[in-house]
Amino acid sequence: MGNSMTDQTLTSETQTPPKDQSDKKPGIIRVEGMHKWYGDFHVLKDLNLTVDQGERIVICGPSGSGKSTFIRCINRLEEHQQGKIIVDDVELTDDVRQIDTVRREVGMVFQHFNLFPHLTVLENCCLSPIWVRKTPRKEAEASAMEYLERVKIPDQANKFPGQLSGGQQQRVAIARALCMKPKIMLFDEPTSALDPEMIKEVLDVMIELAGSGMTMMCVTHEMGFAKTVADRVIFMDGGEIVEQAPPHEFFTNPQEARTQKFLQQILAH
């Protein structure tokens, strides 16, 4: 995305959510000395990160820096080969049951939405609560409608994903993830595939969600969003975490040369 800093995202800054300071569980995500290879290619190098409950992390970096791969390791869509990832006290290993336990508590939103095209919006949202959480259908539907209202598209509940715009589809995808009542939400470039005029509607939903105290990890190029909601911005390059800092510090006073260069490039135009 070229114009990652649109006017729309900047105006969102006025709606800064209240930062929740109550005592939350520390270290709900713990990544320790994690490495990953694709064949011989060393994609992720010695990553260490601890995320507390309720923290909002934005991960940015040039393309190919491994930020998407990193976030996908946290619910084991990608496998890591060395080091530890512990999510909500469950370590991600080859054990399928542990992986599914983690996945139930971690919602994920994808760049290309990945809604199920053969199911209606409501069915998309209810699928996992009904089949995995064994929620009765009525209850699951009522809860799904609440979330659809929260992302402001309850009127589209009985349409198929193919009938919605990109922005609407992405909001459904967020609602679908929330229906599992996850403790953590992962966002993998949620606005990168959207037309510019639809980015705001999705960001607004994410800002609202951040305000509710959800633990969030978000890979994004939306620097306005990072400034608004992030507790911490992480800059990755070449498969390493180069720098992490609160957004104000990160944008005004970056320490590393690579960070400065990256910020110059994306903020220059």
Partner: protein, 361 residues
Amino acid sequence: MTESTMKAPKKALRPVKWMRENLFSGWFNTALTLAVAYLLVTSVGPLLNWFFLDANFVGSDASDCTGAGACWLFISQRLNFFIYGFYPDELQWRVDTMFLLLAVAFVPQFVERFPGRKWLGLFGIFGLPVVGYFLIPGGTFGLEEVQSSKWGGLMLTLILAYIGIIASLPIGILLALGRRSDMPIIRGICVVFIEVWRAVPLITVLFMASVMLPLFLPEGVNFEKLARALIGITLWQSAYMAEVIRGGLQAIPRGQYEAADALGLGYWRKMGLVILPQALKMVIPGIVNTFISLFKDTTLVLIIGLFDILGTVQSTVTDPAWQNVAIEGYVFVAFCFWVFCFGISRYSQNLERKLDTGHKT
């Protein structure tokens, strides 16, 4: 959506204009049109005469076939044999019941708003084979036993095709999933199974099933010839089905698998609720193609001595009591096959339309 007062221009249907544009748009097209028209005029007339106008419909035996056209008497007189084979006359109500149930289960599938349509369809798929299993051979519930060697005609064709179709789809799905599995042993077994069965002609499979299989079975164990043929046809067909379905599985974008994974659905729910419904929908044309070709391939059971509809007709056209009725016989067989295959094809198109949710991620 904006309110618009402009309507799309209507396409006017004007026959003369249409003909000028499509049939007579140049000297070459005009010549083609005239040639085709000549062929139609000269061929349709005699065909009509043979099929209907000069044909013989009433009477009781060959001597009543006096007209120059087709002798349909042959069909109507021997119809019982063509449909039931050697199944005893007084027990044919059992087969008729099955025909009726088949119609009750599947004809409503063509009517969009038929009440309980789905349940009838499910009965057709799961209930019908069970009912047929007890009703047609008899031997239980006080029903007189009818050896499978006496079954024949259309009834046998339908049994072979129906069981082949219904059993091969689930086996094919499992084989397709197995071939794409991460587990090397399961994948290996499925690959070997598919490649072996798919590489063998059906005739060979039938020969093996009827001649060689008994040699390998332990003493005393013996299936009927029909059961062996059915097993052979089903396994052969599932190998084909597996590859068709695998094509569908491969066409589903990776994002769908990942989204299902991220929701914690687990393997079987992911496949059953997300991947297979989309994959199967996508390959309906391929599946139906395989069904139709199986339906016609069942005629090969002739070579192991089972009399399906083609077999019964073929054995009758040489009957000295009837002369020169081969064409009528084969036209009749062709028509029967066409009716069923066309029905399958229409239904699949119905299904495709109904399942289309207009989104091809």
